[in-house]
Symmetry: C2
Subunit: 363 residues, 2 copies
């Protein structure tokens, strides 16, 4: 059975990081007859330069048809002044929305070899393993009206709308509870119900889903601002966190930074299982950005991209054993003191993007 992958390397360090995944795919096809078929497309600034849009219709169609999309990173100073509608991020947001990738899984794990790289005390982050489940197709990212109105007199009004419907909260809560059962069996739901009506509804629906189908899982609720505090104070209190699109954006970035492993963290964005085939549409991307300042120098850390591919093996192709092996290879390479510049430490050996990829492939 062939497995189709659409590779969208994007901008900045995206292409360099993606090249290391391409190596792995080639190795797996050759040594294990894994049967991956890859296509490549453009997204972000690269797509804007080629087509004047942040992703072409053709590449969107390929994304919709692929078994999984691997996404690098988008953006850079070159496109800071392009119109809002075609800014690099618009390509990513369209992929999320059109593919209905409502569930964004962002594991924040602290690799033992990197605990000392965190700005937090080692005992606070050592062994940290939390999973943020972020709603990705709703909330203030997509609600209408979203506009700037000219009020005259030199005054403008900027408007964004946060909207959540019951079904959107139900399905993301379901994903969080299901995943909790495979881990520490705890979910903490975060919103601002003391200020936002969408937060009131969020709280109510998550509680109802819990009561109806997941009473074996421990559920707690936290206000999102207190959640941010607790994340910094003692992150190990959390197992799975479920939250909305905007809070998830903020909280997952804070969580990523805690681990000291920012350049290493992957994410998966999943749709609902197809009624017939049971397959989910899916996109996998590193949590880090396009890092235009170091692009093209072979200095980028490809681990987040490679770990995103490991999530792809796990969630899109049920290649659990291979995913485990790949994740172990990453940890082993780090353990053996091989580092890209961003995570360099005393006594370690500094390698390039491509050497890091080779080392992991070799393991």
């Amino acid at each position: 059975m062939t497995k189709t992958l659409l590779l969208l390397p994007g901008d900045g360090i995206g292409p360099e990081a993606m090249a290391e995944v391409e190596k792995l795919v080639a190795v797996m096809n050759k040594e294990e007859s894994a049967g991956f078929e890859t296509e490549k497309g453009l997204v972000g600034g690269a797509a804007y330069d080629a087509h004047g849009a942040a992703i072409s219709e053709d590449d969107m169609a390929k994304a919709m048809a692929a078994d999984a999309v691997l996404f690098g990173a988008v953006g850079g100073p070159k496109w800071d002044d392009v119109p809002y509608e075609v800014r690099p991020e618009a390509g990513l947001l369209r992929l999320r929305k059109d593919m209905e990738l409502f569930a964004n899984l962002r594991p924040a794990i602290c690799y033992p070899a990197l605990a000392s790289a965190s700005s937090l005390k080692p005992d606070v982050v050592e062994g940290l393993d939390i999973l943020i489940v972020r709603e990705l197709t709703g909330g203030v990212y997509f609600g209408e009206p979203k506009e700037i109105i000219d009020l005259g007199n030199g005054q403008k009004r900027g408007i964004d709308t946060q909207v959540y419907d019951t079904f959107e909260i139900e399905r993301i809560a379901g994903v969080a509870f299901d995943l909790a059962r495979t881990r520490g069996n705890k979910v903490c739901s975060m919103e601002k119900r003391n200020v936002m009506k969408s937060g009131v509804l969020w709280n109510e629906v998550v509680s109802a889903v819990h009561k109806a189908s997941y009473s074996d899982v421990e559920l707690t609720h936290m206000l999102a601002d207190a959640g941010g505090m607790q994340m910094v104070r003692w992150p190990k209190q959390f197992d799975v966190i479920v939250t909305d699109n905007l809070f998830g954006d903020m909280l997952s970035d804070v969580a990523a930074m805690l681990t000291g492993s920012l350049g290493m963290l992957p994410s998966a964005s999943l749709g609902a299982p197809d009624a017939k085939s049971g397959k989910r549409k899916a996109l996998y991307e590193p949590v880090h950005g396009s890092a235009p300042d170091i692009a093209g120098q072979g200095a980028a850390n490809p681990i987040a991209m490679i770990a995103s591919f490991a999530m792809c093996l796990r969630y899109s192709f049920e290649m659990v054993e291979q995913a485990d092996r790949l994740e172990k290879a990453i940890a082993d390479v780090l353990e053996s003191g091989i580092r890209t510049g961003d995570i360099m430490a005393d006594g370690c050996r500094k390698v390039s993007t491509s050497e890091m990829g080779d080392e992991i492939a070799a393991k």
Copy 2:
């Protein structure tokens, strides 16, 4: 000249903490003829229990008339199920809105004596002194529509609206730039212009204010999610941060937690200068909450409340020397190893709320 203060102790540890400020006021009236006249009112759950509202019209009128309002904390499990409109927080939100307290100043400083209490490495937080200037009367907190609609079929829709007008952004930017000039002369503005139209407008207006009147101040822009990351990575890169109501809520809580001094941090919420008198309406409150679990035991740390009173001296009464003295007294007491339970450390002397107040008053 008399100076009128309205004290709104609120719920939980609010009253205990406020009692220590009352001591200080009495001392200052007696020893320095400071001329404070205090009145007391109810807010939050306490007001709900007495009047069925989170603040009475009578107390609102007193707040509008006072030179300054000192606010303790609101909320607790007792009121978790009261209707949304009269929940404890509604009292605070109404005070902010009706008094037009658009500028919320949240200093995050790390007391040297407490640097080791932070979950961050000491070198990351030692000497930290940042000021978050949060917009407080706009954004998603107050925008309309804000409602839950019943869509039938068991589906509901929660809606909140983020709205910012040019003038709202201009005035908060002005406050941030003015304050930066009295400090490190740097402002970092945070929004999500890559996703939110209000963020696009925010960015544009802050830049315009900078260009027109504050080009001597260094201005940078950061996406709010990246800002959260950078706050955890290396917070000392910041001097003044200016941001909207919701991002300010999240980011200031994270910043507070970094310092290890959460129970010690004050805030000031200021209105525009009155056209005639030049006086600003003002409310001062600790950053911490009502901590119902330790209320009534004399275990609360009154320092945040006392430091809020110091901000009151500084910003409402231009008693700069007294404010400096009070802030120094707090640092000295901490330096001398006197601690409430929340910040207890080896070799320190543990004291009650009221002993801590006495020690500071004595200094």
